[in-house]
């Protein structure tokens, strides 16, 4: 007899590839979907790029802190677009009324989640890589100049985006498309607290512990340390990693519980509103 643990651990790369192929077919078949991936990050980067250009001409501090605004915008986009890439791929199944087909197939939740993670990287790459090139051309900001630090920032931001994406997918699975708006807006709840554009010290003292409880805060603080003081803070990276492990465990646990609840309440049969 197979145990529940065995069934969770059984993992088929072919089934992950099947789901990635499904999303790739979808992206390939729809140019509005492809344009949507690039459009908003480009608009964001250009707007903030000009703002940065303006303040650099007028303030000595910002002249020294060259690129912090554009850097923050690009890193925020990695966080936001990473979560959106995960959640939208999941929502595609809800919109297509295909969840029942998938849940009745041998596809395991872990394989499904792995495919969604991989697709969030693909979607993010399509959206953000061209924008980083534009940032270099228009504003002389080279994101890749951060070197190893960029890899550390990227990994931590992706882990957070997946943790949030997994949890939101569980909420949509349990509550139907009525909860869809959460997928689009939940990351903005984090925005003021993760201190994307300003140091944590700017927040009231009583709010700072909440900020430090969020992994992206460490990334944005780390970016400022790198761009302003030219120091890579390994301590911040480690804290972000540790918190991300907790977030991922919490997100996965929440997803599995919500999937269980969806099976109990019949939500898998009615994936509409």
């Amino acid at each position: 007899m197979i145990t529940r643990t065995e069934s969770v651990l059984a993992f088929s790369p072919q089934r992950v590839a099947a789901m990635m192929l499904r999303y790739w077919y979808l992206l390939r078949s729809s140019w509005p979907r492809l344009i949507e991936l690039v459009y908003w990050p480009t608009v964001q980067m250009i707007t903030w790029g000009f703002l940065q250009y303006y303040v650099m001409q007028n303030a000595g501090f910002f002249a020294r802190a060259g690129g912090t605004l554009i850097g923050a915008v690009l890193l925020w986009d990695i966080l936001f677009r990473g979560q959106l890439g995960f959640s939208v791929s999941f929502l595609e199944e809800m919109w297509a009324r295909n969840v029942g087909n998938l849940m009745m197939s041998p596809l395991r939740p872990l394989e499904f989640v792995t495919a969604l993670m991989a697709m969030s990287i693909v979607r993010l790459s399509i959206g953000v890589i061209p924008v980083t090139v534009l940032a270099l051309i228009f504003f002389g900001f080279n994101l890749y100049g951060m070197g190893f630090a960029l890899v550390a920032f990227f990994v931590n931001l992706m882990l957070t985006s997946w943790a949030v994406g997994i949890f939101v997918s569980g909420l949509v699975l349990r509550n139907g498309l009525g909860a869809e708006n959460l997928a689009w807006s939940i990351m903005f709840l984090f925005m003021p607290l993760t201190c994307v554009y300003y140091p944590v010290a700017t927040l009231p003292v009583w709010l700072q512990p909440a900020a430090w409880a969020l992994p992206p805060t460490y990334v944005f603080e780390g970016m400022r340390a790198l761009l302003i003081d030219h120091v890579f803070r390994a301590d911040l990276r480690l804290m972000a990693r540790a918190l991300n492990a907790l977030f991922l465990a919490g997100g996965t646990f929440g997803f599995l519980k919500l999937l269980q609840a969806a099976r109990r309440h019949g939500s898998l049969m009615q994936t509409g509103e």
Partner: protein, 251 residues
Amino acid sequence: MSAAPAIKVERLVKIYKQVPAVDGVSFVIPPGSIIGLLGGNGAGKTTTMAMIMGLLTPTSGRAFVLGAEMPHQRYRVLHRMNFESPYVEMPMRLTIRQNLTVFGMLYGVPDIAGRIDQLAEALDLSQLLDRPTGRLSAGQKTRVSLAKSLINSPELLLLDEPTASLDPDTADWVRAHLERYCRERGATVLLASHNMAEVERLCERVIIMKQGRIEDDDAPARLLARYGRRTLEEVFLDVARRRDEAREAAQ
């Protein structure tokens, strides 16, 4: 030794907000048989099917499929079964070939391209394989759903209203194909429907449900003889009205 049942359901109950949708249903389906689950709207057919498929956890009772208890042991058997239901659809932007390729990979089908060609020929889809699923007629979509449900040559096929919204000719064509598949593969089929003619033609046994309970369970010929009726539709109406009359008498 006799073969294990394809489906075994024991005192299955599903309650939504204190209202029983399925109320103590038990039956056994031997392998290789085609069984009809008959009942009007709200009879509990789809809920029973969903519990058998593992999409829904029963409030109490147990459902076993090919020897595995659902939903806890579903991964032991999901690759050996498949289903078709009007409550799910295939992704519309993907072509038929792309959809079948994805599901072929999910089910671990060895020669996917060969299997797709086989199904396309059998279900008259060869000319449509590279057309997006969303651009098909209702009849063509039903054939695609049927192709998806047969992609892994399942031992057990669960069909929920497989010919709903089809014109009589296409519906008849789908039934003929199902009959042929089951005969050749020796597959078990549980068919939920409120199309009496369909059930009468395909099924060797009929389980009639009403208000979440089994009202009767027998071979169509024996049901006709017992109720003294000429068609299953008349039997169904007798069963449907019997309880209503009993309830009125009690009141």
